[in-house]
């Protein structure tokens, strides 16, 4: 592919993704889901190229970045290229990852490098080793229940309020704070 066509396709991808994301910011669930799914495939490729020695971590880190994108979505301003915004978040998370890794493991390289040379290329999304469901269970009820009903079972805010006895705004706040707490728990692990 020559450079012009390549740039052109990058530009188109930026516009497509931005359109979906902006629609998601207005509350369009289907567009937001499509945005997150497409973003995942790009991020997976981005991470795979940077975590050649830690292929097991790709999916975990990808999920962390998706959570950060979601929790920080109010910081996006439509005059900024979406690519620059997502890239800044991904780089921040990657730097965090490298930092915690060098703290835990020292700077030792893994000893089974030679084997990894012949490892299967991983084209499919790998299994995430971290279990987000387990982490969700650790949240306090006023966050866990709203997330369970609204985000996992797909109930409306009003239905959840009725079911849990929380007010509607408490349900919304519970979802919001719960997802932030989830991200903080992941970082703390």
């Amino acid at each position: 592919m020559d450079r012009t066509t390549h740039n052109e396709s990058l530009r188109r991808r930026e516009i497509d993704l931005q359109t979906l994301f902006l629609s998601g910011l207005k509350g369009n669930q289907a567009d937001y889901a499509r945005f997150l799914r497409e973003l995942s495939t790009h991020l997976r490729g981005f991470l795979r190229a940077r975590l050649l020695r830690q292929p097991d971590e790709i999916e975990d880190l990808l999920q962390e970045i998706l959570l950060a994108v979601h929790n920080g979505r109010q910081t996006y301003q439509s005059d900024q290229p979406l690519t620059a915004w997502v890239f800044a978040i991904a780089r921040y998370k990657l730097a965090d990852f490298y930092r915690s890794r060098s703290r835990h493991d020292g700077l030792n390289d893994s000893i089974d490098d030679a084997e990894e040379l012949f490892a299967e290329p991983c084209l499919e999304p790998a299994q995430a080793s971290r279990d987000l469901d387990k982490l969700l269970e650790e949240l306090p009820d006023k966050q866990r229940l709203p997330i369970m009903h609204v985000k996992l079972e797909g109930l409306s805010v009003a239905q959840t309020a009725q079911l849990t006895g929380l007010s509607e705004s408490a349900v919304k706040i519970g979802v919001h704070r719960g997802l932030k707490a989830l991200a903080a728990m992941i970082r703390g692990k």
Binding site: R37, E59, L66, L67, Q74, W85, D131, K151, S156
Partner: protein, 214 residues
């Protein structure tokens, strides 16, 4: 939970985002910082008795203009730096111009003053307390601005912290102008500057630690 499940969890029932959320957050922080500093000035330091008279002189408004330009610059920068991947932007210009103007005024004021009055111009009568008072007055704004930043996602935490410190301290200086009796430009160029520099440096030092997000 695999990534597909996470995507559907995040998107299910997604709430619309308020496009003014960041502006509201910083408005609240400025309100808290400004009112906090004003209250301390009125209750603890006392408003200068000749405020009504002096408020009709241009030199008083020149004094206000210095922290005001820094406040505008810091606000413009910090609201950008609260977002991932944003540069500091045009706010730098307001800060640079404000500081440059006050230093030109300082040098000019010292140059035209008789040699034996220069020390008095720089020290005034309150040099011992000025920078410390401004730093103290910055505390409510500092806490409020860092609260605002912590809910967002700065990817350059040192710079964001510095601008947050400058925003708080320039607000504090505005409030302090209602009390401070000093009317010589060289005094402002040194002691007001120092008073705003200290919280700025504290913000830069604490930013990387206090502004981490996940």
């Amino acid at each position: 939970m695999n990534t597909d499940d996470l995507v559907s969890m995040l998107s299910t029932g997604v709430e619309p985002v308020d496009p003014k959320a960041i502006a509201k957050r910083f408005s609240l922080a400025i309100l808290i910082g400004g009112v906090g500093a004003l209250l301390v000035v009125m209750l603890r330091f006392g408003v200068r008795p000749d405020l009504a008279e002096v408020a009709t002189t241009p030199i008083f408004w020149a004094k206000i203009a210095f922290p005001l330009s820094l406040m505008l610059g810091a606000l413009l920068m910090v609201t950008r730096l609260a977002r991932p991947g944003m540069s500091a932007g045009g706010g730098k210009l307001w800060v640079t111009l404000g500081v440059a103007a006050i230093w030109v005024g300082t040098l000019y004021g010292l140059a035209v003053a008789p040699a034996d009055e220069r020390v008095a111009l720089v020290l005034g009568t309150t040099w011992k307390v000025c920078a410390f008072s401004i730093t103290l007055l910055s505390v409510p704004g500092f806490i409020a601005v860092f609260w605002a930043l912590r809910g967002l996602a700065p990817t350059r935490p040192k710079l964001a912290g510095a601008c947050g410190g400058l925003l708080a301290s320039s607000l504090a200086t505005l409030a302090y102008c209602l009390h401070c009796p000093e009317m010589a430009v060289p005094f402002w160029g040194i002691w007001y500057f120092l008073g705003m520099l200290v919280p700025t440096l504290i913000g830069a030092a604490m930013g990387p630690r206090w502004l981490r997000w996940s």
